[in-house]
């Protein structure tokens, strides 16, 4: 399994633990963490835990199931960088009430999503 894909899965687990911890702290004392904690929790779990897990597994299995190598390893590397720049920015924006950070983080995250989508379309359609 490619090191980048193992990183995706490992980071997903780390986000899952972080997102869960934030929710537990919020349940214990809502004043302990400032900002929009439920939104941060939801996005850490969905974009951080679930999506990064899917990124790591899909980048490994879909080229194999499709019968062609991954269209671009470089795109997948940039996907890792963008996804892991975007989500921390978004979370920082929600916890610090900074809309610009949320917007910038959202753009980075969307960039990762587009790279992933295009890379897999170009891989699975099997014309490379």
């Amino acid at each position: 399994m490619h090191k980048r894909n193992r990183l995706f899965v490992s980071i997903a687990l780390a986000y899952g633990l972080l997102g869960g911890l934030i929710a537990i702290v919020r349940l214990l004392d809502p004043s302990l963490i400032p900002g929009n904690v439920p939104r941060a929790h939801g996005h850490i779990m969905l974009l951080g835990f679930i999506l990064m897990m899917i990124y790591g597994i899909a980048l490994h299995v879909l080229p194999r199931f499709g019968g062609f190598p991954l269209y671009s390893e470089r795109m997948a590397d940039w996907q890792l960088y963008l996804a892991n720049t975007g989500l921390p920015l978004m979370v920082a924006g929600w916890l610090g009430w900074r809309d610009m950070l949320v917007m910038t983080g959202g753009l980075f995250t969307y960039g990762a999503i587009v790279l992933f989508g295009l890379n897999l379309i170009l891989t699975v359609r099997g014309k490379n």
């Binding site: 193992r6 899965v9 490992s10 633990l17 869960g20 537990i24 349940l27 299995v61």
Partner: protein, 157 residues
């Protein structure tokens, strides 16, 4: 087509049994713990889907929203990740996952955690919600502990 002789049903059953046995010995099929994770995930999905009947949508606006949301996310999605992740990651990497009592501890924590969280929300018991959340979080910690040496073995091959 019409001249083909069909296989007797008992032979089909026997062939299926032998194929299943071969796959099980190759480690292709689910182990008992992973099979249980996948089965439980479908149960939680059906429970989460009850929100459609009760609230008219999967996620209603009322107090039950977190209960049904987490039946779907913690119950269905997390259990699917547990079952499929524990099955696939060792095969992708060639590294073994921690077995023995660990998967059953992970499963017990997750079941009690989801149940506590959901019942706590539906019954209006915040203490039970917190206990459930902590137990579900601990199950993820156990899964991470099991999966880490699969992803990052002490000696890279």
């Amino acid at each position: 087509m019409g001249t083909e002789k069909s296989m007797p049903e008992k032979d089909v059953v026997e062939a299926q049994r032998q194929a299943h046995s071969r796959m099980a010995q190759m480690g292709f099929t689910f182990s008992r713990d992973n099979r249980s994770f996948i089965i439980a995930a479908q149960g939680y999905l059906m429970l989460a889907g009850l929100g459609l009947l009760i609230n008219g949508s999967l996620l209603g606006d009322g107090a039950s929203r977190p209960a049904f949301l987490h039946l779907f996310t913690l119950g269905f999605m997390l259990f699917m990740i547990y079952g499929l992740g524990s099955h696939m990651l060792p095969r992708f990497t060639g590294n073994p996952i921690r077995q023995g009592a660990w998967p059953w501890l992970q499963m017990g924590l997750a079941h009690v955690g989801v149940a506590g969280y959901v019942v706590g929300y539906l019954a209006g018991w915040p203490g039970l919600v917190i206990v459930g959340a902590v137990l579900a979080w601990l199950s993820l910690a156990v899964f991470t502990f099991r999966a880490w040496p699969v992803l990052w073995p002490a000696t890279e091959t």
